[in-house]
Symmetry: C2
Subunit: 353 residues, 2 copies
């Protein structure tokens, strides 16, 4: 038994399908009597409109596609949560497609979205995809969050990774640290590269030697990196990790190695995932309001779909949040009840684009 269609409802209510459609969409004039009959028929038949068919007529799907690279820990769940909240408030659905770590996969994912979504949010930390998005998506509105740090002349949100990294290093330098290592994100990832570039530049500006170890944005990779650093003869006295996930991994590795954080090694991460404020010592980081950024992205895309003119390149400036992992003066935990009482914020003057 197939589900009821609008025709079944029309027959049972003894009206035309046009009237059923009007009642259901609250569009166009209908008698109260007609209305009641239609509603009764809908009820009786347990009719639910077929959104695919509706989409074909209206050429609107009320669905937004999100192309993600991969799901590293809490960053992406926070981001999706923010998008989902906004989507529901605006009557949109979210179709997610993740694990696109190379441009080809991302491109085929984008193609297969046509006719399925009204617009796309593309997180493509790999160079090619930015272009792909514009070409492949055809006339579909696309909001880029590709982390390139370059204004492409199309609607986008970028994080000031470079400025954030500089702020991280300057903070550590100000604490008197000199052997500052960097745990890098995956090669070829534009976010990771921008953070590394900021690190290198700030170190050069401070006249300090650099020390970079590879990572992959995962906790496990951060842990490995931490083990390597802890074992070095010229062990660093501070570490700036390209994201919080890795910073947490490294933190644990240092503690396992018997090192004290921040006394022996100060730590700074990037992102401010929920976990950052919870680990001990709490992690100093460059805060991005992740869920908020997701919400904003979704809302902006919906405005774009509503054909708002928009080619802006919005820059999110991460904010340095100093916590115990880089603050020897922090009172020991236990004196400070809640998780966030040991937070102090510094404003960050980011780079101009």
């Amino acid at each position: 038994m197939k589900p009821a269609t609008i025709r079944d409802v029309a027959e049972r209510a003894d009206v035309s399908v046009a009237s059923v459609s009007r009642v259901l969409n609250g569009a166009g004039p209908v008698t109260e009597a007609t209305r009641q009959r239609v509603l009764a028929a809908v009820e009786a038949l347990e009719y639910v409109p077929h959104s695919g068919a509706r989409s074909l007529s209206t050429s609107r799907t009320n669905t937004v596609g999100v192309i993600l690279p991969d799901l590293y820990g809490e960053f992406f769940s926070e981001l999706i949560r923010g998008m989902d909240v906004a989507a529901r408030a605006l009557g949109y659905h979210l179709i997610v497609s993740s694990s696109h770590d190379d441009a080809d996969e991302a491109s085929s994912a984008i193609r297969s979205m046509r006719g399925r979504v009204d617009g796309l949010i593309v997180l493509s930390p790999h160079l090619g995809a930015a272009n792909l998005a514009s070409g492949l998506a055809g006339r579909m509105p696309v909001l880029l969050m590709n982390g390139g740090g370059v204004d492409t002349g199309r609607p986008s949100i970028i994080i000031d990774n470079h400025g954030g990294a500089v702020a991280a290093v300057e903070h550590l330098v100000a604490l008197g640290r000199r052997r500052i290592a960097h745990i890098a994100g995956p090669a070829g990832n534009l976010e990771a590269e921008a953070r590394m570039a900021g690190y290198l530049e700030a170190m050069a500006a401070a006249g300090l030697p650099t020390m970079v170890v590879d990572g992959a944005f995962t906790k496990a990779s951060g842990q490995e990196a931490g083990e390597k650093l802890a074992a070095r003869a010229d062990r660093p006295d501070a570490v700036f990790a390209a994201n919080d996930n890795m910073a947490v991994g490294a933190l644990l590795a240092f503690q396992d190695a018997g090192l004290r954080v921040p006394e022996d090694v100060a730590m700074v991460g990037f992102d401010d995932i929920p976990l950052a404020g919870l680990v001990r010592p709490a992690l100093t980081t460059l805060k991005i309001n992740i869920a908020e950024t997701g919400r904003n992205a979704l809302e902006r895309l919906v405005r774009l779909i509503g054909s708002a003119a928009d080619t802006a390149c919005e820059v999110v400036r991460p904010e340095l949040v100093v916590r115990a992992s880089s603050n020897p003066l922090t009172p020991p935990p236990g004196l400070s009840g809640a998780a966030h009482t040991d937070v102090q914020t510094m404003s960050l003057e980011g780079e101009k684009l």
Copy 2:
């Protein structure tokens, strides 16, 4: 300029739309010459088929809907990752809808999926939604993961929460702990209730007094619960938290309060999220292979869509993984390089349903 349609391609290639369709779907016979002309036209026009229209004709969307309660930390990102991997391998898309903490919201989310998806995976830890899923979804295949622990006679995957909780308590009792507290999950959540029931039953069986404090499955709620427990006169010597997220929160609260884990308080969680093995001390937990469960759910739903007969109620039995948080004999960290070397596994004889 609107995107090219199949008619545009047909005209340019000077064939019928039927031929274009055949070429594109690799279905039906076509001359190589026709094939080439069509492909050239597709290329020239940058044609991408409109999946909405295709869905309407074939009544297949190649999309699966996932209804989630809310995104608490890593559990759901792991689950979605597993589903996404399987979906892509099978040529399916994933449409996710989260934050459905009450039955009404879940039900409207389910309705709006009609015509948009070929089947549904419903995680509804609240009672009503299980019925809703069957009614509302009409003839659409639905795989339930509602955590009720009851075989509803429809395709489902349930976690043996009760058995897992019993195993957790028995483990703590075997260690000689007597004042074993439970940090409960959100009220009305079936998973949480089953875990609590297992705790209460096992405690009664051991002749021990119970001690329950509320939580909400989040790290922050676990931390608050931990603070409360640490402050009590009859402070527990062991805690079983209804999930790892809360266990980690409580662990940090205990450490902030100057308590040693596991010496003063042993800890056991539930889920085995990636973080569980990384915190210090590493967390003993009831392991569910989360991503694997997600993959399995997706694959099973796709089989259902392919009209496989299936009314099985599959039971996932969590496995007790003993780590340092409940094992005073564990060598101190630092002697044990990698994160997982301090893991020992015990087989768990779960309850029969």
